[in-house]
């Protein structure tokens, strides 16, 4: 078991390296002069050359990559001339806020999705099932940023019951804290609800076909007890998708955080794009991707403990 876990952890290392290579290549090879932002228009060629040497830009590509990687591993993401701050500080502050929003969204999405999916799976073919299936298609198709704007129109503009944006800490009271979370969480977790409901429904329906269900019924178990066994066996595919969904949440966070002025990584990326501060975009993307890879690793490990069959597959 320990070897299996270690092997799975070791498998994440090349993935993480690959992530850094992809991001680094994308932002190094693509057009754009990295010095243009840092130097005044009338800088002399000698000044340009000196700054290029200082930043290591005269080195061959592989060496620049390795330098960049080692800097990052030391926590040095460079300096943002626009924000006049270390990029690492900006990211550290924003990361917590994004984690808070993504955590609440994931919990909300999973709870609602699993509940709806289970209802649909147990009462398959019924009106509830059709409702949930329809809702899932809507959830998969609807743009999260449109839901966000609709919520803003209804709850902030018309009824003025929810704050239009920003984040509140717990110091300001629980209701203000949750009030700021409601709309970002709902609009951000639409896709999550849809995927979870779909996968849960399919898994429940599939598990009900298994032979052990007949055995349980033949043994005289009540339907509610049978459902407990089914649910336990049906949870694995749902867990598999949680990692994927966190990916949706993190990617969608750029839109949701921008709309609701949530001071997280997404807003950081958006503002950096507007200022063409690619260093922040680069670093934030690496941090989010690394978070994503590690979360997927945790989900896999969790599954190995839940489902003994996974151990053999690993």
């Amino acid at each position: 078991m320990v070897t299996l876990i270690l092997r799975r952890i070791a498998m994440a290392v090349p993935t993480l390296l690959g992530v850094t290579v992809v991001i680094w290549l994308l932002l190094s090879i693509l057009p754009g002069d990295p010095l243009a932002f840092l130097l005044p228009q009338d800088a002399s060629p000698a000044d340009r050359a000196r700054l290029a040497t200082e930043l290591g830009l005269d080195q061959p590509l592989p060496i620049r990559y390795v330098d960049w990687l080692f800097d990052m591993m030391r926590g040095d993401f460079g300096y943002s001339p626009f924000r006049r701050r270390e990029v690492a500080d900006l990211i550290a502050a924003a990361w917590k806020n994004t984690a808070l929003l993504a955590g609440f969204s994931a919990a909300f999405g999973l709870t609602i999705g699993i509940s709806l999916g289970t209802l649909a799976g147990v009462y398959r073919g019924s009106a509830i099932d059709r409702f949930v299936t329809g809702l899932a298609i809507v959830g998969l198709s609807v743009p999260s940023f449109w839901v966000a704007i609709l919520l803003l129109i209804v709850f902030s503009a018309q009824f003025k019951v929810l704050p239009a944006g920003g984040m509140a800490t717990l110091d300001g009271g629980l209701s203000s804290f949750l009030g700021h979370l409601v709309m970002p969480v709902i609009s951000g977790s639409m896709v999550s609800i849809a995927i979870t409901a779909r996968v849960t429904r399919a898994s429940i329906v599939e598990t009900f076909k298994a032979e052990f269900v007949d055995t349980l019924r033949a043994k005289g178990l009540r339907e509610r007890q049978v459902l407990l066994h089914v649910a336990k066996n049906a949870i694995s595919p749902v867990l598999t998708t949680t990692g994927l969904q966190v990916g949706f949440l993190l990617g969608g966070s750029v839109l949701i955080e921008t709309i609701f002025s949530w001071p997280g990584l997404g807003q950081l990326v958006f503002n950096a794009i507007a200022a063409r501060d690619l260093r922040i975009v680069q670093a934030t993307t690496v941090v989010i991707a690394a978070t994503f890879v590690i979360l997927n690793l945790l989900v896999d490990l969790l599954q190995m403990t839940f489902d003994p069959r996974q151990k053999r597959a690993a």
Binding site: V22, P31, I153, A157, V281, A289
Partner: protein, 303 residues
């Protein structure tokens, strides 16, 4: 066969004969078309999409307003204002006109990347699946790297480094959809590569590329087509997301995602006009998703 009729020996034979009568059995594609034509949801979705395409293509015939220029005195008119059926935006431009023209960009920005990614992903995936060995290892492990990113975020990062514009947006979205299509193509190719007709084709001494083009592609078409059609709805929304962030077409060219963002400031004065572009993104995306579901059922592909 009418179920109400009592089943006599004669009608039973007639029914049996009717089922087995055609001399030539229905081909796979004929059966698929028959199944699709009997799907009401699929036909309805197709009708909505054709209607939207027709509207955006015929935009200059349907409206006399300029999509890029507005009348500042007519700013922020509500839906139903005479002369401005869907109201006007923050610069006094007719919303109906901008929605019609905006559909062009939104549809292109959603469809083009899926098409490009399907071509490249199919080539990479079928090559890996067919040759295997180190070729597959190199291609597919590279594809795996793309799974380590939240797709939308990767598209945003690529788009941001390329700079705004429709073309760059299409490149960014194409890149993120290549990997999943390559996976589907590779899996489908590996399933058929052991078949006898492939073995026979190899024995004729035909070059690999010709076998892939003449034998493999026809046999992996269905799963790839189904997967790609399922991506379109998502791509429409993702493309609109990029435009929303200012990474798509440049103003004043109308595009639904960007319109939604620039109207964000007007939700307190003219709320329902501000929500309109999103409604059209949603209708387009859900129609593509429903169409894709019907196509999957019609082609009888199991996911």
């Amino acid at each position: 066969m009418a179920l109400a009729e009592p089943m006599t020996a004669h009608s039973a034979i007639a029914a049996w004969a009717a089922v087995d009568a055609p001399a030539t059995p229905e081909s796979y594609l004929q059966a698929a078309r028959r199944r699709f034509m009997s799907s009401r949801v699929g036909l309805a979705a197709l009708a909505v999409l054709l209607f939207l395409v027709a509207l955006s293509v015929c935009a200059p015939l349907l409206t006399s307003y300029d999509p890029a220029v507005g009348q500042p005195v007519d700013r922020l008119k509500a839906i139903g204002t005479p002369g401005h059926l869907l109201g006007t935006d923050e610069q006094g431009r007719d919303m109906l006109t901008r929605i019609l023209y905006g559909g062009r960009m939104s549809l292109i920005a959603g469809l083009a990347p899926v098409f490009v990614a399907t071509v490249i992903g199919t080539a990479l995936g079928s090559l890996s699946g067919f040759i295997g060995r180190w070729v597959a290892a190199v291609i597919m492990r590279t594809m795996d790297m793309f799974y380590a990113f939240p797709a939308v975020l990767l598209a945003i990062a690529i788009s941001a480094s390329l700079g705004p514009g429709l073309f760059n947006q299409i490149i960014a979205l194409s890149i993120i959809y290549i990997a999943p299509i390559a996976r589907v193509a590779e899996a489908a190719t590996r399933r058929i590569v052991v078949a006898e007709f492939i073995e026979a084709a190899k024995l004729t001494g035909a070059p690999t590329t010709r076998i892939i083009v003449t034998q493999v592609l026809a046999n992996i078409f269905s799963p790839i087509f189904v997967y790609a059609s399922g991506l379109v709805g998502l791509a429409i929304v993702t493309a609109a997301s990029l435009s929303f962030l200012g990474l798509g077409v440049r103003p004043p060219t109308p595009e639904w995602g960007f319109m939604l963002n620039s109207l964000r400031g007007t939700i307190y004065v003219n709320p329902w006009v501000a929500a309109l572009p999103g409604f059209f993104i949603f209708i387009t995306s859900i129609s593509f998703n429903m169409l894709a579901d019907s196509v999957r059922d019609a082609l009888d592909v199991k996911e």
